[in-house]
Symmetry: C2
Amino acid sequence: MPQAVSKVRSATADEIRQAALEQFAQSGYEATTMRDIAASVGIKAASLYNHFDSKEEILWDLTRSAMRDLDANRDDALARLAPAAVPRVKLAAFVSAHVDFHAERRHQAVLVNSQLGSLSQAHHRKAVALRDAYENSLRTIIDAGVASGEFTVSDVQVATLAILQMGTGVSFWFRPDGRLRIDQVCAEYVKLALAIVRHEIQ
Amino acid sequence: MPQAVSKVRSATADEIRQAALEQFAQSGYEATTMRDIAASVGIKAASLYNHFDSKEEILWDLTRSAMRDLDANRDDALARLAPAAVPRVKLAAFVSAHVDFHAERRHQAVLVNSQLGSLSQAHHRKAVALRDAYENSLRTIIDAGVASGEFTVSDVQVATLAILQMGTGVSFWFRPDGRLRIDQVCAEYVKLALAIVRHEIQ
DNA sequence: GTCTATATATCGATAGAC
DNA sequence: GTCTATCGATATATAGAC
């Protein structure tokens, strides 16, 4: 196995990523300073530039990783299904994975859902393309359910966005010590998604 | 009628509000400078301080107004109903008003949904209280529908947040020149909300 | 109520010693 | 790879002339 090509695979770089992720998600990119990030890691701001070329590069590194993780999370969930799984099963797996990610990895989720506007123009375009592809993968499932007569949806695009956005919202209120466990939250949202596509339950 | 008490009711102050609202919503509070706002109005940054004491005061003014408008928008919609309207009718009116606001006044909506964290601690607390009250007013409607047997909801809190958040999301994608008119979007979301509370349609 | 000028602070980023 | 020192730009906000 070839060694990682970049300096950014050091242990310190990972500490920087973790600190930056938490603060970007909590306070926002613009309100977070390089000095803030450095202090969390226990170094000075100038030392950050031994690991990343700029503040924006840290944001892009985190954003790209988060979106790749989100894709991988969905792919894993769908890959566990039988190849011929019906749309109802695929939709349930997608929504459960989506909600689980937004509850379990809320810093990454919040970053992707509120800090894309701070990226450079070039990076912003790439991020939006990834987001559109993710949205499309859900729409494809709903389309299949409509085509098979399993789902009844008056507007596929609105249903797609509604299901995604209600799940995305979980990252803003879920707390591990709250009333509902993650698996209960996922199960609730699966029910709501199936209701939205008018899948007759039971 | 007594005259408005504050200097902040001048025409220039209103221009400042409009410019700040657009830029805070589009670029974020931290990324927007007083020079940016002033330039939009056609004055210098120092002149802004003849109308507002600080940048944060502008944000709070806009936030408070937006949340009051959101409340008034809901109150107007509910007041138009018969006093004895059933929960289904109240829910439909709430969701329609909620979505209409988030489509029609997207700058205000985006501000309330993404810039509260930039408020001072005292103002942030007040904003969160207003947001909680708004959320509660929807939960009360759903509770009534569950109590009357009209709705079937396995978790009222999750259903409340899901309905609010999918409607809130409209402010991020709706465009006046898009495929769907506002009234069509509202009608779609009313259907989705009724499906979520398992109200049997037709 | 607007302006110019400026105070004061802090930002991202760099230079160079160790 | 870390540090101290600092650069140059820019932030919010104020002072005072007009």
